[in-house]
């Protein structure tokens, strides 16, 4: 290296004790140490490239190790945290399931001294809620049971009285009519309540080939509706005639009570199932009610005064479940609703006695 490339500051500050400076020459780092002699300056220059490279590498290594360690620490931390939180997540899942109505949930004891008391308390709570619900259900069933005999006697008496109403003077007849109507209504409500309070499924659904058209005709006839409302081909399904009749009757009653009547009962058989549509032209079902329409005692916004028991659709839905059918509804394009029962189709021909 020619002497004129040495940094000026070095040469200038080369005091009697000496000086050193790091400088760059041709892109490489050097260290120059200058020691003043009697009438000259002794400068020794050391290339720092290797040292520098070493330092840079060391810096990178350190950075990398730090990051790696940090990452590892994060993963480890997350693992530990997850393990600690897992029972709590499980608790949240169980609580959610219970909110949906599944009361069989229980938490298992894990042996962890911090979490086990929580699990135990949780299980206790579920037990208590379950017991309370069972008590209330028994209460409803007991009340219904108690009412059964008096209502039977009242209904029977009312019907007999109704048979003699023409023998009464007009004023008494009017009152008698009110009595008969209300007793009939009470009786229907009680039958619904009894049905929904009892444990379903223990009766065992029948499974036989039934003439769906005939069942629909019966339902229309029972409610005094025009049989021309029934549209569709003759079709057969594998199901329980009595329960299907109950389901359809309830759907028809629902349309009569809340939608001003039934516009049609349509039969739509296909390869797998038979669909029975009960159509109406009513105000439809508002969204906030829609999700709960098959639950007991759900009523529409304007139906507080209507004489239904609030259980018709709930019973229809439950009976459908028992026979392995499904009940759904959808709004109709022109307004109104369509309730659909889907039954498993029977593709076997039915042999019956000729009338």
């Amino acid at each position: 290296m020619p002497p004129d490339q040495l940094p000026v500051s070095l040469l200038e500050s080369a005091s009697p004790t000496g000086a050193m400076q790091r400088f760059r020459y041709s892109g490489d780092p050097y260290l120059a140490i200058a020691i003043p002699l009697r009438d000259a300056l002794y400068v020794e220059v050391f290339p720092l490239v290797d040292l520098d490279t070493l330092l840079v590498r060391a810096a990178w290594l350190l950075l990398f190790l730090t990051l790696a360690l940090a990452a590892f620490g994060a993963i480890l931390g997350a693992q530990i945290a997850a393990r600690v939180l897992h029972p709590l997540t499980a608790l949240a899942v169980s609580a959610r399931r219970i909110a949906m109505g599944d009361f069989g949930e229980r938490m298992t004891q894990t042996g962890d001294p911090d979490l086990d008391p929580i699990a135990a308390a949780f299980n206790e709570m579920v037990q208590a809620v379950q017991a309370k619900i069972a008590r209330e259900r028994r209460f409803a069933a007991n009340v219904s049971h108690e009412l059964r005999s008096p209502v039977t006697a009242a209904l029977g008496s009312a019907e007999i009285l109704a048979g003699s109403r023409n023998q009464l003077d007009p004023r008494t007849r009017e009152v008698a009519d009110v009595l008969v109507d209300q007793v009939r209504r009470m009786s229907r409500a009680l039958v619904d309540l009894l049905e929904i309070s009892s444990t379903f499924g223990d009766d065992g659904a029948q499974s036989e080939v039934i003439d769906v058209r005939a069942v629909c005709q019966d339902v229309l006839q029972m409610r005094g509706l025009d049989s021309r409302l029934l549209v569709g081909p003759s079709c057969f399904a594998l199901s329980d005639a009595r329960r299907l009749e109950r389901i359809l009757t309830n759907l028809v009653d629902n349309a009569l009570l809340h939608a001003g009547g039934v516009t049609a009962i349509r039969l739509e058989p296909n390869a797998q199932c038979v669909l029975v549509h009960v159509d109406d032209q009513g105000p439809g079902i508002p969204d906030e009610v829609a999700a709960h329409v098959f639950e007991p005692f759900t009523r529409g916004p304007h139906s507080a005064a209507t004489p239904g028991s609030g259980l018709g659709l709930a019973i229809a839905s439950e009976q459908a479940r028992v026979i392995g059918a499904a009940v759904n509804f959808e709004p109709l394009p022109g307004g109104g609703s369509r309730f659909t029962v889907s039954l498993p189709a029977s593709d076997l021909p039915v042999e019956t006695v000729e009338e």
């Binding site: 005999s149 039977t152 019966d218 006695v353």
Partner: protein
Amino acid sequence: MGGIPDSVLSQSPLSSEPKQSKVSHLLALGLNGGMGQELASRRVAMIVEDDAAISVVLRTMLEDEGYQVLCAASAEQATVALAEQLPEIALVDLRLPGLQGIDLVRLIRQSSQIPIVIVTAQTDSHDVVACLEAGADDYITKPFVPKEVTARIRSILRRTAVSRESTSLPSSSRLQLDARTASAVIDGRVVAVTPIEYRVLEQLLAANGAVVSRNHLLHHVWGYEHAGDGRVVDNLIYRLRGKLQTSSALPEVIVTVRGFGYRLVM
């Protein structure tokens, strides 16, 4: 009245409580054992119901139908009344103080084929089936609609099918019906049957071996206007098979066709 047939007394399936054997003794005295149908008083019905209010309702309903009604508030009272007079039909509440409805059904069936309808609460499902197997022909649940009940009773009591004489029925190799005694003859042996059982056999014979659906039977034999409980039919067939089957060596004469109903082997 002749001596009490030993067969009737020794057949009592009830427990050995003195009260009950006295009761079946009384029954046997009045009924002369064997088939009691020809002894049944026309237009007399019996109600066995402990709830006084329901008893009044049922009695009025039956009286409106032209029946003279015997009312008993317990099975024990009923058996005393039965010893004197056999009604054309009996309505028995399942739940009675003392001897239960099902026991009364069994007792009546020991020596008579009168139609029996049990009155039940909706929750008595298993008991209903047991009663049907023991010999009851139909059931009504509380609360009942009187019109339905009278329609069913009328139907149950119609002795023969609407437009057929038993002579015009197709003949089966093993089974014949005797309209005069309202009984069945299987493999030459006379079997006592209730009016409902008789009419079911009529319908099966009329079908000439084809399948008869449960609903058809409920409609034509029991008088259900709308869909009824198929178990009533199933249990009656079960009882009929018990009566008709002489030995396990011989094949069944009534065949179950799963999902469709029943048919007769002609």
